[in-house]
Amino acid sequence: MNSEILTQSSTNAEGQPASATKRGRRRRNLWAYGYMSPVLVALAVVFGYSFVEVVHYSFYAGGVGQLTYVGTSNYHELFADPQFITSMFNNFKLLFTVPVVTILALALALMINTTFRGVRQYRAIVFLPYILPATAMGLSFSYLLQGNGVLDSLLKNLDLSFLIHDWLGSPSWVMFSIGSVIVWQQFGFGVVVFSAALLAVPGETIEAARIDGASWWIVQRKILIPQIRRIIEFFVILQAIIVLSSVFTYVYVLTGGGPAYSSSVMEFFIYQNGFENGSIGIASAAAVVLLGIASVLIAIYIWARARAAKEAG
């Protein structure tokens, strides 16, 4: 009996010895790792090495070749530097664009989630700003938003002079202006993402609801939006990561961080210190802080994905 049990336990369902299966699996795994190794090495070099170097440099002052170890003083200086604090808060201010983009894009995606003549062309037009080169966009918006520029002239002609501002030259309005440009560009991307998700919702569900007498509003609110909830979550987190760590272009082309740092963001701070001033240490410390903040968002995103997968069974 014991020997039978032993025999059974050491063989698998196909009657092969368990040790042989393990060996085979291990061999297959080794081959898999072997095939993955070039990519792993590339990742280690590109990301791992850079990450280690950035953390390492954050403890030094001076330029490359003239580095002096300063311990954690770069981090202390960073949080005592009004420019960095302004930059960080500006990134947080831009987080307000996330709900705006999401709501506007979702609303439009729901409205055009039907078949009408030219719907594809319309989607393409809405998507267009997203693929425009940043320099062209920056130049256009500079003329549009500058004091006495196109927008101000339009407001003046419409007898709305009380709304006239130096949109890019006033520290009070500059972040609002940059945020608006971000909304304008990211909006098209949102519409395309949500439209694609809505197209994947089974038509039968909507049909059944309509037969049961559900209004257009109820269909959107109770069926369509819940069905694409995961995509909305994904989009929100992606946008949050974008406004925290990928808004350099907007700031660089529209304002150059001015006036007087009032539109500087963390990436711009890193660029200015690392590349313009050659202060590798402070730029690296700022990069580590930015990475930390972005990591929190990425962790939330991974957690949301894992939860979704768990719920889906």
Partner: protein
């Protein structure tokens, strides 16, 4: 049965193995092929360069000048073509730089000791700071004094008796006024404001007639930086008052910050009184200047090259030029604001320094200097250039301003990091109305501290330079 199964398994396993082997062999062969292709591709240019290097001298020239002198890049391209024709063993590759890349690109190049053989940089500290860091070779080591003695304003790039860079042209910063608009405001169109009182009176009269007195732009911060260069200088008796302040020597910094506060208060007054275009903060310096040739502003502080260019659009008889009105009470207040602006130097890692120096000196040949003036209107930084060749009356007035008396462009004497992180944003605080003179000065003070702790080597080099 078992044997059969086993034998069947074995044959399956054998065929799998052979298949696997074939795959591996194929993959390995493919990898070897790819690697050898990569190696050959990587090896080709190296051997190519080595082969070419033995026959030809390649000079990589990172060049800037178009923003100062429109047409400068074209002039340089033509000179290079002529030089290469006369010297078939030399190839000069021109890499134009922009305002925003001129310093950061060279900073990176100096860190890795790769990039240009000849570089253009803004004069004095942007040149001398990398020189003190070992990235620049003194050009006077490669050229005889008989050649360099013809160059003008070499004092801007001289340290311990050595000239580190070659000037190409001189730029003066005059006050330019529109005679037609002055007349419209009831002012004498032929009388320039020379004192601060006269200047403010003119501004007041112009504004009262609905004319914007001064047209400038500060989105990029250069108007503020120019105010520092022109008017902070007028507060000083000697340059060492500035350099000792930057170096933090004794109470020099406190004194310097106090004089800065006075200057920013004056600057704030101009903005508050509405004497500068209201959109100054959302226009770049270049965009702000355009208000003058468009007839939308009566005065501007600009460069010689722009004055000559604007004369073509609004008529030479409508333009007047003079030194910026005197506001400060320091001994340097009477000096003019001329600089070589940018200069050309040989990098310490260049393999053909003598060839670089020969090419640069060739640019100063009278024929090239005359061509520079004729094609761009720029005034060559060379005393061999015959001033009598300047026939245009406006150009003659500008040349007279540039060459009479001593000149200092103060911005050249502060470290580039202080210029970018203190001078520029402090001016923006004033023009945007978001800060007070006290806040502007606090920003300078804070940036001094940051620079000193973040760049200890640069700080030490600056102190050495300032002491020398």
């Amino acid at each position: 049965m078992n044997r059969k199964v086993l034998s069947g398994d074995a044959s399956a396993s054998t065929s799998l193995r052979s298949l696997f082997k074939r795959h591996i062999t194929k993959n390995v062969l493919a990898m070897v092929c790819v690697f050898s292709m990569l190696l050959s591709v990587m090896a080709l240019p190296v051997s190519g360069t080595a082969g070419a290097a033995s026959k030809k001298t390649n000079i990589t020239y990172w060049f800037w000048g178009e923003s100062d002198i429109p047409g400068m890049t074209k002039w340089m391209q033509q000179r290079i073509a002529t030089y290469e024709k006369a010297n078939p063993d030399v190839t000069v590759t021109l890499v134009p730089q922009s305002n925003s890349t001129i310093i950061p690109s060279f900073t990176l190049a100096a860190q890795s000791k790769t990039g240009p053989d000849i570089d253009t940089q803004w004069a004095t500290l942007p040149t001398l700071q990398p020189a003190l860091g070992g990235a620049v070779t003194p050009i006077s080591d490669y050229l005889p004094k008989s050649d360099t003695s013809h160059w003008l304003n070499t004092n801007e790039n001289t340290y311990k008796g050595k000239i580190y860079a070659m000037p190409l042209y001189l730029i003066g910063v005059p006050l330019v006024w529109n005679k037609k608009l002055f007349k419209e405001a009831g002012l004498n169109p032929n009388t320039a404001p020379t004192t601060w009182t006269e200047f403010l009176a003119d501004c007041k009269a112009l504004k009262a007639h609905g004319i914007t007195p001064i047209g400038m732009g500060n989105k990029d911060g250069y108007f503020g930086a120019w105010m520092f260069a022109i008017y902070e200088k007028q507060e000083l008796n000697t340059l060492s008052q500035l350099t000792e302040g930057v170096a933090g020597k004794g109470n020099a910094e406190t004194k310097m910050l106090a004089s800065l506060k006075t200057m920013y208060t004056m600057f704030q007054g101009l903005i508050k009184d509405g004497y500068v275009n209201s959109n100054v903060e959302s226009l770049s310096l270049n965009q702000g200047w355009q208000l003058f040739p468009q007839g939308k502003a009566a005065m501007s502080l600009t460069t010689d090259g722009n004055v000559l260019s604007w004369a073509k659009s609004i008529g030479e008889s409508n333009i007047g030029v003079t030194k910026p009105p005197i506001w400060g009470k320091g001994a340097l207040a009477s000096t003019y604001d001329v600089t070589q602006s940018s200069d050309e130097f040989i990098t310490s890692w260049s393999k053909n320094k003598q060839a670089d120096a020969n090419f640069l000196e060739w640019l100063h040949e009278p024929v090239n200097m005359v061509a520079l003036n004729k094609e761009t209107g720029a005034f060559p930084a060379d005393n061999q250039f015959p001033a009598k060749d300047i026939t245009d009356p406006l150009a003659r007035s500008l040349d007279k301003l540039d060459t009479s008396g001593s000149s200092i462009w103060l911005e050249n004497y502060i470290p580039p990091q202080i210029d970018a992180d203190a001078d520029i944003p402090a001016g923006q605080l004033i023009t945007s109305g978001s800060g007070t003179p006290a806040q502007a000065v606090a920003l300078w003070s804070q940036q001094f501290q940051l620079w000193r702790t973040q760049q200890p080597t640069q700080f030490a080099q600056f102190k050495t330079w300032a002491a020398g």
